[in-house]
Symmetry: C2
Subunit: 351 residues, 2 copies
DNA sequence: ATGAAAGCGCTAACAA
DNA sequence: TTGTTAGCGCTTTCAT
């Protein structure tokens, strides 16, 4: 059957089958049994629709029914292994529910986050995942005003349910492991292990710093502020910080806790100026996983967050209509050097 | 001013300002000058709209005007450094044009690609970027039928304009560099350098294999088929391939051309079972860039595709209303070991 | 310089 | 078992 140039509508199908538009509508949107349309009628309509290449105009349906079939997610960046794995899993869950995912990055900019949420709302998204927002509560206010179901992922808020990694224990585990593997050199440990990257005003970073300090305190007493560099998420800030640190202490520290792969890239930028031999006595722990990073020319241990669980719990909360401000903690996992995990890509492919 | 529970509409604003809905509409969508609305009227309307937290219902606008303000992009996966950098750049361009990006992954599955495009069409996207599709022409047919502007990125089609990396020259450059740096050992070169990953039926892989073979032929004559393993994009296939290869030749080959970071992860999975010393005489070249991969315990050279240009040229083609099936080639760049480039994330942040 | 009114494609209440 | 009808919120033509 030749397809029309214009997209066909239920009216076209109504005309050609002799049924009414509402019958066609019901036959096509799955409510025909409830509307007691004769099966043969429904089948006839569906057949013609398929032949014509009909697809529902979602704008019209959405306008009428005040729902869109879209589900939104905002996150700090696409270009990051952690966030893009969240996207991958989020998308799979959305698809499984018959929703079309709309994933937009907001570059850790509160104003951009606000604008983006308003944009998504103007498209009538049915619910929203807010990942790593710099000001989740401000976004919650916007969502609540129009009764939009939403949840915070990765960074908690106080006005909506949150699912976050247990950054405190993760950092503690990672720090303990760094200390265990660190070359034993004389002098105060306080001058040998450092925290680099992230921003101290952000909850995730703050929790990780707390875990870092507590782990050290367990074994070696207090940590000084001079051991923590957390003023920005920009990789370039970490480049500067680690350079100044190394120049000050006259070498690469024995242990470095890097707050994310973003920061790690910044650190590597400085490292690339140093000879390979200078890394003999260094161990790096990085909060976030990258398979290539576990294969570097010096030992790197990593933390892998449970991305599947972060998203799955988010959907569970939506399903159960939970709206209080509970915080669900998800345990991350320690990754040893030279470890390759399969990517979500591998497990998702279906056929 | 207290905001209403329900989202306000132009009718609410019309009522409260005493203007008519059409005047309000014009005042709010930027056409008021053309409609010769008094400036004071427009300002009054805009002020109230702001106070009320009004935002346009894009479904209604889209339904009426047959445009949505959405721009779609489909790609094989989010969870990949190359694709997610394409997302990041695509998003920036879309935003700059006042469009809302909808980026969906289709897992290199032709059927999923088709379904996704139909879904995006049902939301009336204004144009579409098709990245790395397994069957671009089938998608072009769907788009053309409803007059949807679209372009192919990364993999070319014959029914729409395409912007692709120059995979042939990129592979040639990479192969030459592998050969230049390879440890010189006796015996035929044919038994010392191998191509691993990707799928030979996919244009990008095929072009890279061609570049690989030609580069070797330039210096050492023919290449045998036994040197090329390209049956799947799954990392696990590369794990198996490289394992069997190494077991067959009794060691790690002197040179390995890895077709993508996906495949590289698979290769590393096997490498992680080998002692560090066994890599003394190996050099790996990988088609795709990852900063961490350049810091491994054996030398890795990489190809970095010009992501910014791939997307920018795509938008240029859209802007210039080009619809023929021309193919624009973008040159990629060789990356030496221990090289860190700044991420798109850093350059995009605006404020 | 502005208002009235039609209609985009769909859903759902109501009528038959 | 099916048809009629009234909108959803907006844009746009035409009238004033």
């Amino acid at each position: 059957m030749k397809r029309p140039a214009r997209k066909s509508t239920i009216y076209d199908i109504a005309q050609r089958t002799g049924a009414s538009p509402s019958t066609v509508s019901a036959a096509l949107n799955g409510t025909w049994q409830k509307r007691r349309i004769k099966e043969s009628t429904a089948l006839e309509v569906q057949k013609l629709a398929a032949d014509l290449g009909y697809t529902t105009n979602m704008q019209a349906r959405g306008l009428r029914s005040a729902r869109s079939g879209l589900i939104g997610m905002i996150l700090p960046a696409h270009f990051n292994r952690y966030f893009s794995s969240l996207s991958q899993i989020f998308e799979a869950h959305a698809r499984a529910r018959g929703l079309c995912p709309v994933i937009v990055s907001t570059l850790r900019d509160a104003e951009e986050e606000r604008r983006t949420v308003e944009t998504l709302i103007s498209y009538a998204i049915d619910s929203l995942f807010i990942v790593g927002a710099s000001n989740p509560d401000a976004l919650s206010d916007i969502c609540t005003a129009i009764n939009l179901r939403h949840i915070n992922i990765d960074l908690p808020g106080t006005k909506a349910p949150s699912v976050v990694s247990d950054n405190y224990s993760g950092a503690k585990i990672l720090t303990r492991e760094i200390m265990r593997l660190m070359p034993k050199v004389p002098g105060r440990l306080g001058e040998q292990i450092y925290f680099i990257g992230g921003a101290y005003w952000d909850n995730a970073t703050a929790e990780r710093i707390r875990g870092f300090k507590d782990a050290i305190a367990e074994q070696h007493g207090e940590v000084t502020e001079a051991q923590v560099f957390a003023n920005s998420y920009e990789p370039s800030a970490s480049t500067t910080d680690v350079r100044e640190l190394c120049e000050r202490i006259g070498g690469i520290p024995a242990g470095i806790f890097v707050n994310s792969t973003f920061a790690f890239e910044g650190v590597l930028k400085y490292f690339s100026t140093l000879p390979v031999e200078s890394f003999r006595n260094t161990i790096v722990g990085c909060y976030d996983y990258d398979p290539f990073a576990t294969f570097m020319h010096f030992p790197v241990i990593m933390i892998r967050q449970n991305v599947e669980e972060l998203i799955a719990q988010g959907f569970r909360i939506l399903d159960e209509h939970i709206t209080d401000s509970r915080v669900i903690l998800i345990e991350p996992e320690l990754v040893h050097p030279r470890s390759i995990y399969s990517s979500p890509h591998e497990t998702l492919r279906r056929h």
